[in-house]
């Protein structure tokens, strides 16, 4: 165990063989390991119910609110064990999650939503105001709508609010859960472009869960494929994108999140045969 940690000392975030159980009985993750290098964009891929969101919530410790428990394994951030930290402390240290389905505060204005992201900060109003400007530079559309109630903004704008709100915490790593969900392809592209710019220009590290495999692989440098609560494949994003299995499984359906059961079965069969 310690040898593993030694060899991974470059990792910003590392998840070591975790098992997650909901409600004390539902075993959902059966030993997931992954690592995220500083400055990387890592994709966490897999079909519905594979355990992507659960993995992210295990890291951000939002599982507790859903009666989920990490029963085995460990999670380290910057070399420190962070499993027992509350979401509040994790956000302070630079780990923040953008939840699936965006979860904006509907009755707050766009700007108030963004400001809630700065809740844990103690570096003063003027620094927060600077970052608000920065977020508006990345998302000019939010600036136009700053006084509208978030509940009345479009799905794309809500995704921007959710990402912008996380940025306001000045995070080291953002755990981004299905940013493409329910968005038109063009908007998905726009969001991913911004993720790329944030990664390159602001140095934000991303771990992103996606069903939109090809799009996610295009914008990331490493990927993990999750199935039934286990990592079944991982590798450089470019290699995964070229991999025949991945292609067969995801090609032609990459823009659409509905996948036929036959495809899934063929993939499973092949997987079993491979391993």
């Amino acid at each position: 165990m310690s040898a593993v940690i030694q060899s991974e000392r470059e990792a910003l975030l590392s998840v070591n063989n975790i098992e997650v159980i909901y409600d004390h009985v539902i075993l959902v993750l059966r030993g997931v390991s992954l690592e995220v290098m500083k400055g990387g964009v890592v994709a966490l891929l897999g079909a519905n119910g594979a355990g992507k969101s659960t993995t992210l919530k295990a890291i951000s410790n939002l599982l507790g609110a859903e009666r989920g428990d990490v029963t085995k394994g460990s999670i380290t951030f910057q070399g420190e064990d962070v499993q027992s930290l509350s979401p509040n402390e994790l956000v302070r240290r630079g780990v923040i999650q953008v939840m699936e389905g965006r979860h904006c505060f509907e009755h707050l204005t766009v700007e108030e939503n963004l400001l809630t992201g700065a809740y844990t900060r103690t570096d003063g109003r003027s620094r927060v105001a600077e970052d608000l400007d920065l977020v508006y530079q990345y998302f000019p559309r939010l600036k136009e709508r700053r006084t509208s109630q978030a509940g009345y903004t479009s799905g794309g704008e809500q995704q921007m609010i959710a990402v912008g709100r996380a940025l306001m915490a000045r995070p080291a790593v953002i755990l981004l859960d299905e940013p493409s969900m329910g968005l038109a392809p063009q908007l998905v592209e726009e969001i991913f472009e911004i993720v790329k710019r944030l990664n390159e220009d602001e140095g934000v590290t991303f771990l992103l869960a996606e069903q939109n495999t090809m799009m996610a692989l295009r914008y990331s440098n490493y990927g993990y494929i999750l199935e039934n609560g286990r990592v079944v494949m991982d590798g450089e994003a470019s290699a995964l994108a070229e991999n025949e299995d991945v292609k067969e499984f995801y090609l032609g359906v990459s823009g659409d999140d509905r996948r036929s059961f036959r495809n899934v079965k063929a993939y499973r069969r092949r997987k079993r045969w491979l391993s």
């Binding site: 951000s60 939002l62 609110a65 009666r67 509350s86 979401p87 509040n88 994790l90 956000v91 302070r92 923040i96 999650q97 953008v98 939840m99 979860h103 904006c104 505060f105 509907e106 009755h107 707050l108 108030e112 400001l115 809630t116 992201g117 809740y119 844990t120 109630q149 509940g151 009345y152 709100r165 996380a166 915490a169």
Partner: protein, 310 residues
């Protein structure tokens, strides 16, 4: 003319009773919005606050027995506020924290338990006799209104209304303009998302229960000054229920307006309809009105608009 003046007096006295209902309902709404908990103990909180305040002021209280002096009013009120904050902290530590993941009905039952514990504690510590609360609010009718308009209005009622107005304004500013107020509204909207941006729910609960405790203190002071600190104070909590149904459980303005409507409505009904049916309408009017609302407008007058996009 005289008739109209009488009507006006009835309306004003109804408004003043309504302010009391509003204050108690306000405490309910704050806690309900932030945590989804229906706090049955809100009325008892007002009673407890009034008892504690009385204790600081009176020579037959514990404070006097221990320290040998009583506190002046300007110190006793902040001291009681501190006690309410401490109580909020204890409630979070001892009750809420362990029940958060339970069903709402369990939390509701916990607050019923809390109401009885607090009431029992109040009885044990301070005794159940009626205690006159005098914090120096002038008594009797306002001479100004009586002389100029021939209108009989109690000074106490004017003070109560003004205090309530100041309190509500302060709360509105707190909610709209401060970082913690914003966090409170965020939690009310989506507590998971609030958690995800690092807002600590435990801390927020202590804050809302403290704010509700202070609102309860104001209600307790007003009610206690009017009719003495007595255990029937906790019964106004029951009147807050129809107020909430009328105003909507999540609406601060709803709590205020609902309280005023019920206060005025029941006084008017008592005076004008009462004689026809043999009186005592005041006791049940609010519930009948609430029933009507449940049938025709269950979200209340100001129930939070449910945002639905198409």
């Amino acid at each position: 003319m005289a008739f109209d003046l009488f009507l006006l007096e009835v309306v004003i006295s109804g408004l003043m009773t309504g302010v009391m209902y509003s204050l108690v309902a306000l405490g309910f709404v704050l806690i309900f919005k932030a945590s989804g908990v229906f706090n049955f103990a809100q009325g008892v909180l007002a009673l407890f606050a009034a008892l504690a305040l009385y204790d600081f002021l009176a020579e037959d209280g514990w404070f006097f027995a221990v320290f040998g002096f009583t506190l002046p009013v300007w110190l006793a009120i902040p001291a009681t506020a501190l006690i309410m904050i401490f109580l909020a902290w204890v409630i979070e530590r001892a009750v809420l924290r362990f029940l958060v993941k339970q069903e709402e009905i369990i939390l509701f039952m916990a607050t019923i338990g809390l109401a009885f514990v607090l009431e029992g504690l109040g009885d044990l510590l301070f005794g159940s006799d009626v205690k006159p609360l005098d914090i120096g609010i002038p008594q009797g009718a306002s001479d100004l209104l009586l002389d100029n308009f021939n209108l009989y209005v109690e000074k106490l009622e004017i003070v109560a209304a003004a205090t309530a107005a100041v309190l509500v304004t302060a709360l509105a500013i707190f909610f709209q303009k401060t970082r913690v107020g914003r966090a409170l509204r965020a939690v009310a909207d989506d507590h998971q998302a609030a958690l995800s941006v690092g807002i600590s729910l435990n801390k927020i609960w202590v804050i809302v229960w403290s704010v509700s405790g202070i609102v309860a203190l104001v209600a307790g002071i007003m009610w206690g000054s009017k009719s003495g600190v007595q255990f029937s104070l906790s019964l106004i909590a029951l009147k807050a229920l129809p107020v909430l149904i009328l105003g909507g459980f999540t609406s601060v303005p709803g709590a205020i307006v609902g309280g005023l409507i019920i206060g005025v409505g029941e006084k008017l009904a008592e005076v004008y309809v009462g004689p026809l049916v043999g009186g005592a309408i005041e006791n049940w009017f609010a519930y009948v009105l609430a029933l009507g609302f449940l049938l025709f407008r269950p979200q209340g007058l100001f129930g939070e608009r449910i945002i639905e996009r198409v």
